[in-house]
Symmetry: C2
Subunit: 216 residues, 2 copies
DNA sequence: CATGTATTGTCGTCTATCCGACAAACATAC
DNA sequence: GTATGTTTGTCGGATAGACGACAATACATG
């Protein structure tokens, strides 16, 4: 899933933004490391250069994943979230001051910034809608459907889907317990909605059927 | 509650923004009227001039209130939300095209835009945190505490609080049913945490006690 | 191959919250 | 005053989903 819908790495390639590239410095993080946390109050903006990074809220023992960033995604460290590397990753980081300067000088950056914030906001609203209105089964099927549509690979009339998430991680995205998600997924298998293909690989034999379940 | 934390009406008074004022046109709405809804896809940006306006998500019969805007607040109509006038209100409206032009020409507007979006986003995250991690009682007490701190009037060692919400409306902010909120509120009354003072008016005899409940 | 660790499936118990129903209280209009 | 609508309080039943516990896998690593 492209979290913001806009690939900033591509944007940075554009010739207008040569000077912009220079304000970023690179920073790398090992798999599992927590890159930013809500306490530290440096205001930083960063772009994922490589790897995979998880944005999440934490409260006592519980965690809720807001999204997973991939190369080209932009985010800010001052939104009160944790940022954790899911794989060895490298980020392009800069401080908000520089960003402000850029916004004044480079109009394109500006519009991009607003666009990205808008996308993130829309995503946040849809998360709220899910939590407020839908039960876990509905959130699960909707999530699978979206992932399948965005990154499923056609195979034998159906779709193959590589989620690359443990059940535990999936449950943190859905806002549920590991146990509940595990049980619901297995119910879906029994009903033939999905077929298990090994470590976090799934096959959806009939996308229509899944759509029908989601739209009810 | 100031939804975005920034009063755009004040900002518009600033001399730098004279031309900006001209791109907005006024629009009024009667109490209860739905001003924008998610289907209509005009991309508009608006500022509350007078009155009170509710931003909410809707799904089937249910509604979840994201926030209530007051004069000076800015919002955008393309975020997939309903916008409803809680009282007779008037808005300053403009389309996104004009906003983009302004962003290029007036740097101040730009920064303000990003700042407002940031605030809204932070609010959205705290809503998600509430829904994901806390039960309704915790959300209720936290809400009352925040309102008391922001707009409570000192009285006789405690705070008087005019919420101006029916229980039903309050329950839509908290993401719960009317009945549950009603019961929990009356429990709080019995425990002496709050005292009822008539139609949506409350008295908090001991703010510390309320804080203690919230921080556990 | 053996051993340790991480991931998954499943079951029973427990509780917060929803939902429908209804009456009481209150406000508003006639 | 009475009548009518709106807002509230409360109760009992139903249930989704949390939680703890444990066994069964699968996976990695020496």
């Amino acid at each position: 899933m492209k979290f913001s819908g806009i690939n900033l790495l591509d944007e940075l390639q554009k010739s207008e933004l040569t000077d912009l590239r220079d304000v970023f410095h690179s920073r790398s993080a090992k798999k599992g490391a927590i890159i930013f946390s809500p306490e530290q109050d440096e205001d930083l903006v960063f772009i994922i250069e490589s790897g995979k990074v998880r944005i999440y809220l934490g409260y006592e023992e519980k965690e809720f994943t807001l999204g997973i960033l991939e190369p080209g995604d932009l985010y800010s460290s001052h939104a009160g979230c944790f940022v954790q590397a899911l794989e060895d990753s490298s980020l392009l980081v800069t401080d908000v001051q520089s960003v402000k300067r850029c916004m004044a000088e480079v109009p394109l950056f500006n519009r991009t910034m607003v666009r990205v914030l808008g996308k993130i906001l829309q995503n946040a609203f849809s998360v709220i809608g899910g939590l407020a209105f839908k039960d876990i089964y509905a959130r699960l099927t909707a999530y699978l459907l979206k992932e399948a549509q965005e990154s499923g690979v056609p195979f034998d009339g159906g779709l193959e889907l590589e989620l690359d998430l443990t059940i535990e991680q999936l449950s943190q995205i859905l806002g549920a317990t590991r146990q509940t998600v595990s049980t619901l997924l297995n119910n879906m298998v029994r009903e033939g909605l999905v077929v298990k293909r090994g470590r976090s690989k799934w096959f959806i034999p009939d996308l229509k059927a899944l759509e029908d379940v989601v739209n009810t």
